[in-house]
Amino acid sequence: MSERLSAVARDGAQDEPPLVLVADDDEIILGLITYRLEHSGYRVITALDGQEALRLAFDECPDLAVIDVMMPKIDGYQLTRCLRGNVETRELPIILLTARAQEADADLGFEAGADEYLAKPFSPEELRSLVEALLARPRPQGDDEPAGRSSQTVS
């Protein structure tokens, strides 16, 4: 795991592995993602709804967020738009998760400002490699629009 991390180490966090915020109202999925990411060397903080996720995004300054679309209080699209609209979190890499493999959903996700989009059922390994790739991607400076979009769906 440690060799993987060397590739994704970020400014001002040389000593600590990247922090990933995972938001999903389904604790079982939350547990699965947490296990995969923690066992791949990341630090993970979790939220069971959009409101909690928003608070953690500001308080903990995660390096990346994995957000389920279907959540109570604030859904994934709203949360993404909210994070993109705020100066402190506008650069945060975001992966949206959805159970509805509809093209329209992917469009909605990208419109809201997500960097990546993963449809359920995804494999934990698939998510891990996406997290790794996204953290390694150079962040655009002073650009409102996130760069490099692609959709990944598994059927």
Binding site: I29, L32, Y35, R36, H39, K120, P121, S123, P124, S155
Partner: protein, 525 residues
């Protein structure tokens, strides 16, 4: 309104004659009467002028009613004769009626006289008309017209046509709207006697509430043209009917008139109204059924969407945790544990395919499938499909053969085509317990033809048309417990058709099934 009546009374009692006249006046007759008492006077009066009716005392000593009847008969005039009697026996009554008397009125029942005279006048008028028509008809038949002009010039022929027309017809004076002629059909339909009609105006044939409209229309219509209009007419008994009246100008005896044909369309209108109502009811019912179908369809879509969504999340968990456990991170596994978990993994894969199919068929049926078109090498694509299907063929111990000739590339969505052809091939394998499944590819004119021929169970002929319907499962499949959702072929069909191609199937129970897929080299769009 007084009706003129010329009356000949054979009566020796002036008082009785006067009573009869009073009675007739009471009934509305303006009577011109002559009272006579002898045969000589009778003959003289009969030849002097026409009479409408004769009242005859039965018990005149000098002139019996039988004599009067005989004398009247000799004149060849059809004058109705009514016996007026103070007392008459039954035998004498029968005798008089036999001799040609029209009726017998007892002096003590004089109130009957008016109605009897009324009736007799009407009957006599009909008899005269009938005779006239019979004569004219026989003339017409005896002398067939040689020239149309001859026919046209003959007013009597026209009168005959008017009178014999099965459609009610009348002539009215334009200035006064008085009816001056009515044909038999009108008389018999409207319930008035001819005489009554001739004393009426056409306003009287309309329901009172239409009178104003009638006056307006008649006042505003150009009076020189043929006019056609729907009206309501009223019979004497109050029955109101729908009529279509066609009228045209006509000059009768120097008077400006119009001739009108009154076609009773009440029945037709009622039938039309009933038809319109029936059609309306039918369309309302169809709309209701359509709405029901729309609701059911929306429910089905919602069901498919909810099911696929609700299954996807737990499937993510099942597959995800299996992957982690099988990866060995939580701890080492025994070979047996590993094998069991792999079986669980395969089952979850199967479940996932079903969910994918469900979602796909929903999209296909809604026409939401977007094809990602590129150049497709069908030979290579079929090769991959056969390789992927090989393990299931091996598991059933049957042969899976691919025979192909080179075909030009086609334009299509390689992923979807592989899915469609894969479904057809795996279907063939599923239904084949011994023998083989053969996949063939060749080109025909502008299209590639793929055939998948199996030596399997086949499908009864009456089920063939259902095979491409979503969720339909052949009886051979359910009987032999061959697993499946009944979605494979319907998905294949939707995908092939989205490529502008066709899919068809020939089958025979016991000897196998042959599926033929044709794909055009150019997608037709």
């Amino acid at each position: 309104m007084k009706r003129p009546l010329s009356l000949l009374i054979v009566e020796d009692s002036p008082a009785d004659a006067e009573l009869a006249l009073v009675e007739l006046a009471r009934h509305g007759f303006d009577t011109t009467a002559e009272r006579i008492g002898s045969e000589r006077e009778l003959r003289s009066e009969l030849s002097a002028r026409p009479w409408d009716i004769i009242l005859c005392d039965h018990a005149l000593p000098s002139l019996s009613s039988t004599d009067v009847l005989r004398i009247v008969h000799e004149t060849r005039e059809d004058i109705p004769l009514v016996i007026l009697s103070g007392a008459i026996g039954e035998e004498a009554t029968v005798e008089a009626l036999k001799a040609g008397a029209r009726d017998v009125v007892l002096k003590e029942h004089l109130a009957r006289l008016g109605p009897v005279v009324d009736r007799e006048l009407g009957d006599a008028s009909h008899r005269r008309d009938d005779k006239q028509f019979a004569r004219e008809r026989s003339e017409l038949e005896a002398k067939p017209p040689r020239l149309d002009r001859e026919l046209h010039s003959s007013e009597s022929h026209y009168r005959l046509l008017f009178e014999l027309s099965p459609l009610p017809m009348m002539v009215y004076e334009r200035g006064t709207f008085r009816i001056v002629a009515a044909n038999k059909a009108l008389v018999s339909a409207y319930g008035y006697t001819r005489e009554e009609l001739l004393s009426l105006s056409i306003r009287d044939l309309h329901p009172p509430e239409d009178a104003e409209l009638l006056v307006d229309v008649l006042a505003s219509s150009p009076d020189s043209q043929v006019r056609f209009r729907s009206w309501r007419h009223r019979y004497r008994d109050g029955t109101v009917i729908d009529v279509e009246v066609t009228s045209e100008n006509l000059v009768v005896a120097g008077r400006d008139c119009r001739i009108a044909v009154c076609n009773d369309v009440t029945g037709r209108n009622r039938a039309n109204a009933a038809r319109v109502k029936a059609a309306h009811d039918t369309s309302v019912e169809l709309e209701r059924q359509n709405e029901q179908l729309r609701v059911l369809d929306a429910l089905k879509d919602q069901f498919v969407s909810v099911v696929s969504h609700e299954l996807r999340t737990p499937l993510t968990a099942i597959r995800g945790y299996l992957e982690i456990v099988l990866g060995g991170e939580p701890g080492p596994l025994t070979e047996e544990q590993k094998r069991f978990l792999e079986i669980a993994g395969q089952s979850s894969e199967q479940l996932l395919r079903v969910v994918g199919d469900l979602l796909l068929i929903g999209k296909l049926e809604a026409g939401h499938l977007a094809l990602e078109i590129s150049e497709v090498d069908l030979a290579a694509l079929l090769g991959r499909c056969v390789v992927a299907a090989q393990p299931s063929a091996d598991a059933q111990d049957i042969g899976l053969w691919l025979m192909q000739t080179a075909v030009p590339p086609i334009a299509g969505d390689p992923g979807r085509l592989a899915q469609a052809l894969g479904n057809v091939i795996s279907n063939g394998i599923k239904f084949t317990t011994e023998g083989h499944v053969e996949v063939r590819l060749h080109a025909e004119a502008d299209r590639a033809v793929i055939e998948v021929v199996d030596s399997g169970a086949g499908v009864p002929a009456n089920e063939v048309s259902h095979l491409f319907m979503p969720f339909y499962r052949a009886s051979t499949a359910t009987r032999k417990a061959i697993p499946g959702t009944g979605l494979g072929l319907s998905i294949a069909k939707e995908i092939i058709e989205a490529h502008g191609g066709t899919i068809s199937l020939e089958t025979k129970v016991g000897s196998g099934t042959s599926v033929r897929v044709e794909l055009p080299f150019e997608v037709g769009r």
